[in-house]
Assembly symmetry: C2
Homo-oligomer: 306 residues x 2
Amino acid sequence: MEKFEINILGCGSALPTTKRFTSSQMVNIREKLFMIDCGEGTQIQFRKMKCNFNKLNRIFISHLHGDHVFGLPGLISTLSMLGRRGELVIHAQPDAEKVFRPVLDYFCKESDFRVCFESFNSNVNSVIYEDKSVKVSAFPLKHRVPSAGFLFEEQARPNHLIPEMIAFYQIPVHCLKDIKNGDDFVTEAGELIANSRLTRPAEKSRKYAYCSDTAYSEKIIPWIEGVDLLYHEATFCEADLARAKETFHSSARQAAEIACKANVKQLMLGHFSARYPDVSLLLKEAQSVFPNTIAATEEMVVQVGE
Amino acid sequence: MEKFEINILGCGSALPTTKRFTSSQMVNIREKLFMIDCGEGTQIQFRKMKCNFNKLNRIFISHLHGDHVFGLPGLISTLSMLGRRGELVIHAQPDAEKVFRPVLDYFCKESDFRVCFESFNSNVNSVIYEDKSVKVSAFPLKHRVPSAGFLFEEQARPNHLIPEMIAFYQIPVHCLKDIKNGDDFVTEAGELIANSRLTRPAEKSRKYAYCSDTAYSEKIIPWIEGVDLLYHEATFCEADLARAKETFHSSARQAAEIACKANVKQLMLGHFSARYPDVSLLLKEAQSVFPNTIAATEEMVVQVGE
């Protein structure tokens, strides 16, 4: 299967600790890297995980709280010093450009590449990026400031050719691409060979959803329904639910309830408050509701759909 | 002796590595903390070194390159979340406020404390801060952008009373403070007892100088003459001198030459380029010119004048 994995650069909440960095993840789809959020220290974690800075394609910012964006100027400076030339697109809410452009103009003026902010409306569900490998949608979460979840969907892949059948019908090489994409084949004798005899269907497209920061909200369920992997914030445990409500965050149990109701395949908890040096309590709490739950940790790599 | 120590939070140059953070130090004088520079990740190192955020007094910024300032927004957010109320003063060049005020206004608007930028002119030598414990001067370095060195001078301390003499002359408690500060004493019989018979002189005031970033410049010598500890950048080794010149940095040998000519007591090298995972070569190079040299490393604590 082609690569589709999540690299956890940071999964702490607003206060970083000595062990936990603020929010950032790298989604690797077919060796293209897409960053989600960029808290302070992201570039250090990036290096620690031996990700290739050159493959960084786009950055998606969920919301404009410091612990999700303060790593941007440092990362962009570093990309500049490493000689990047290709444009870097940052998908974020409109204010992001207003706040960061002056900082970048001041500190990265010798840069050989352009940073381009593409703003999106986090109040609606919409496709904000699409290429041959992936489609990324944003959808509204429920937080103190406008906050977006992201859905990464692999694009449909071509069918697999059945080598024995290709050989048997002596199909010319130049026809193979169309057959992979669903065409039937007509032999020289005029016989039509149905595509289903020549190919096996491609694997089902995998889906990854990122929901942080957000209070418990069933409104997000239609957008994350059935995903292979759901990252849902679990800033607090159920005993601290009052604090979770007050700050528009979720408890681990609530994350699991969403996972259950949305019928996802696997749940990953993250965005842990600094008050929990050990998150095993949060993990157990979630697993009691939704067994296939894991807890994110820095430098963890999680395969989507395996 | 009262505390006067340097905590190294980060001593790498512009590109952070997995082991080295960008520039930041904490000067602890009599349990007041003064920060010099604040690169990305400073707050993480601050926590790792178990420094007390509440004791952070003022921040001194040498120059406006990202690797010396990108940690400011995160640090200030964290101070805000930890409930700080006392004003925080940042001594920096005038542009600092222009660039960072909008970021702080956007991300730290719920703060209970004021961040106050006090600008100074880095083209001249001047006292920029003074209290009962310390006097801080700035002086011009030689870099691609205006850059300042800092001299931290302990204030003169009161003399030590000689207990036997105080008892012998039955000196009342209310006179002791003045005697510590140099007054003579007159007995009831009218006899004048010279201060020198009642006290031993205080230890000599200690001095610490921070010079980063800078090219080799003998012009700084008068300002750092005879300091107990000199932190001088040594971004490169002598073999990479061409690169040092081009970027207005110093080699380790050049740092040692300045230490020699300024007759300092101890030299600490820092601001190492990412190209040297191991700086023992730079250390040896400097020690061949100025033997009492050490190399900074993250989380190192160095006593000034011991």
